[in-house]
């Protein structure tokens, strides 16, 4: 059947910016709702930092200090960092691994959804839950830990921690491309728990063995927690810029790895 074909002048169908904005908003809204209703996620992300803070910051060690900073103050940046890492990794890596491995991501890519909206929605979810974790610690600290700081300090601490969650969203995207739906959660745990410990998020940094302290320097949680501790006057008092540089480099590397994973996905075997 070789009828002559004439191709008409092609003009691409365009979306208005308003339409695109609506898509991004809805994608973010439903991604957030999805995780909010997932008890497995909310419980594990919120409960551990809160439990640890209550136990080690409020109940035990009350009225003690770590290198001049009250324990109930010192542990907010530490457990806050721990909390934002979990919030980000589980929202991005576990979700992405599951969506990829079980075909849901394909359904979304087969639709007119702008691909970036999917990733933006995941990062948005990470940021919102990070905020919730940090605010919970604030409330507990103020109510039961005698934490008194200027509002500006609280705000700066919140912003620092939430900004610090972005490298972990990137890390989650990279991980999500290289794990499967079942292996993602255990892999996340295997990575972020030791990483958190070695960064001084539980045992404060100055009490870690020297060799571990050296390892900490290449671990992102160390840098985020140091930035956060700096806000409340604690930490190793290194210049903030070095921490941000390490985190920025880490983010770039993770996004690069995620990109490789994205392209590798195109060639996966199908029927």
């Amino acid at each position: 059947m070789s009828a002559a074909t004439v191709t008409l002048a092609t003009t691409q169908v365009q979306r208005t910016p308003r339409h695109t904005a609506v898509i991004y908003l809805k994608e973010a809204k439903y991604e957030f709702l999805k995780y909010l209703r997932l008890r497995v996620y909310t419980l594990s992300v919120l409960s551990f930092p809160i439990m640890f803070y209550v136990l080690f910051g409020l109940v035990l060690n009350a009225n003690q200090s770590i290198a001049g900073t009250r324990v109930s103050v010192y542990l907010i940046p530490s457990y806050g960092t721990f909390g934002i890492i979990a919030a980000s990794l589980f929202a991005t890596a576990a979700g992405l691994a599951s969506d990829r491995g079980l075909g849901w991501l394909e359904v979304k890519r087969a639709s007119p959804m702008p691909p970036f909206a999917y990733f933006a929605a995941k990062c948005f979810t990470s940021v919102v839950f990070s905020t919730i974790v940090v605010l919970s610690l604030f409330v507990l600290g103020i109510a039961f830990g005698g934490v008194r700081m200027p509002v500006a300090t609280f705000a700066k601490l919140l912003v620092t921690l939430v900004a610090g969650s972005i490298p972990f969203s990137a890390m989650g995207l990279a991980l999500g491309y290289f794990t499967g739906p079942n292996s993602a959660p255990p892999t996340i745990n295997l990575i972020y728990l030791p990483m958190s410990f070695c960064s001084g998020l539980w045992v404060p940094f100055m009490f870690l063995p020297k060799i571990v302290q050296k390892i900490a320097l290449v671990l992102p949680p160390y840098h985020v927690s140091q930035l956060a501790l700096g806000v409340v006057g604690g930490g190793q008092h290194e210049p903030a810029i070095t921490h941000w540089e390490v985190l920025a480099a880490f983010t770039m590397i993770c996004l690069g790895v995620a990109r490789i994973g994205f392209q590798r996905d195109q060639e996966k075997m199908y029927g």
Binding site: M1, A3, A4, T5, V6, T7, L8, A9, T10, T11, Q12, V13, Q14, R15, H19, V22, I23, K26, E27, Y30, L33, K34, Y35, R37, L38, S98, D99, G101, L102, G103, W104, E106, V107, R109, A110, S111, P112, M113, P114, P115, P181, Q266, E267, K268, M269, Y270, G271
Partner: protein, 330 residues
């Protein structure tokens, strides 16, 4: 079906005159309009060829079924048309453009086989999100009615039965009111009634001027729904045409009878392709029914319960793929 075709032609001719917005391919001198095509497309996964230089066209207003065994390349073909894969060679065109641009997908909808859908979101919410991707989506009520989900809007996806979940996936495919619908094995897991309802809905869509490409390994489904069937095996299209034409390609007949002849004795009769047992009788597949009948009646005078019928699509399909496999191994 002809009405659907005429309607879509008229609708598009007037749309063409007022605005040359949407890219299309017109075939001059024919009333068929090609809305999607694979032209000389090859796709490999590493060393394994999934599609070998395939030519395939989908025309406006028709239901095309891509029929083939597992691993034949059906899903690969659909994914190429959806822009999820890039071909190693050849061209893929949907509405005249490369399908890899997400915005162009506002004219298409897809129902793919998926292992997991976010379970904590409600049916209504899933539909709302997917509808938002499109410029002129259907109202949620219409979508849920068309997919048979009327009372389930507030149910979480995780609380749905298997058949209901399939229907949600169908709803996501149609919610944007797309002109071209891709359905990859749409009725897997549905009971007979649900399957019939979905078929009716597909036919309703086509009557409104839509085009449907479906893949299936349910031969009955291709036979019942499709205007045109393309049989695909091991990455090549080995037959194409209306179901009746495909059936005619194998001039096979089925002979059913109760006979005392053993299977080995039956296989000795020239012209018999296959011997199957069917409860108390045997079913013989042959391309030379008359000659075989003569032999049968000569060898077994007490033959009873004789039935001779045309090969269905299943037999044509099996014969075609068998022949093709033999060709490939020679």
């Amino acid at each position: 079906m002809a009405a659907g075709l005429a309607n879509s032609n008229q609708k598009d001719k007037s749309a063409m005159i007022t605005s040359l917005e949407k890219p299309e391919i017109m075939t001059v001198g024919s009333s068929d309009r090609v809305v999607a095509s694979l032209e000389g497309v090859s796709k490999n996964y590493g060393n394994i060829p999934a599609l070998r230089s395939v030519d395939f066209r989908v025309r406006a207003g028709e239901i095309v079924a891509l029929l083939g065994p597992n691993g034949a390349g059906k899903t690969t073909a659909v994914k190429l048309l959806l822009g999820l894969l890039q071909p190693n060679s050849g061209k893929v065109r949907v509405f005249g453009a490369d399908p890899t641009n997400p915005e162009d997908r506002m004219r298409t909808g897809a129902m793919l086989q998926v292992g997991r859908v976010p379970e904590t979101l409600r049916v209504r919410e899933h539909i709302d999100l997917f509808s938002s991707y499109y410029q002129t989506p259907l109202s949620p009520e219409k979508v849920m009615a068309a997919a048979g989900l009327e009372k389930l809007g507030d149910r979480k996806f995780g609380d749905l039965s298997g058949g209901q979940r399939q229907r949600v996936l169908f709803a996501l495919a149609i919610c944007g009111d797309p002109d071209l619908l891709f359905l990859d094995e749409p009725t897997v897991g549905l009971d007979v009634e649900a399957r019939r309802l979905l078929w009716d809905e597909i036919r309703r869509l086509v009557r409104r001027g839509k085009t449907v490409l479906l893949t299936t390994h349910y031969l009955q489904e291709a036979d019942a729904l499709a205007d045109r069937v393309a049989v695909i095996n091991k990455g090549e299209i080995i037959a194409e045409g209306p179901p009746a034409a495909i059936k005619a390609q194998t001039s096979g007949k089925r002979i059913r009878c109760i006979t005392s002849l053993s299977h080995s004795a039956l296989r000795e009769i020239p012209g018999i392709n296959e011997v199957k047992e069917d409860r108390e009788a045997v079913e013989l597949h042959t391309g030379q029914a008359e000659a075989v009948l003569r032999e049968l009646l000569a060898r077994d005078p007490d033959l009873a319960g004789l039935e001779v019928s045309s090969a269905g699509l299943e037999d044509a399909f099996l014969a075609l793929t068998q022949e093709h496999n033999e060709q490939l191994s020679n």
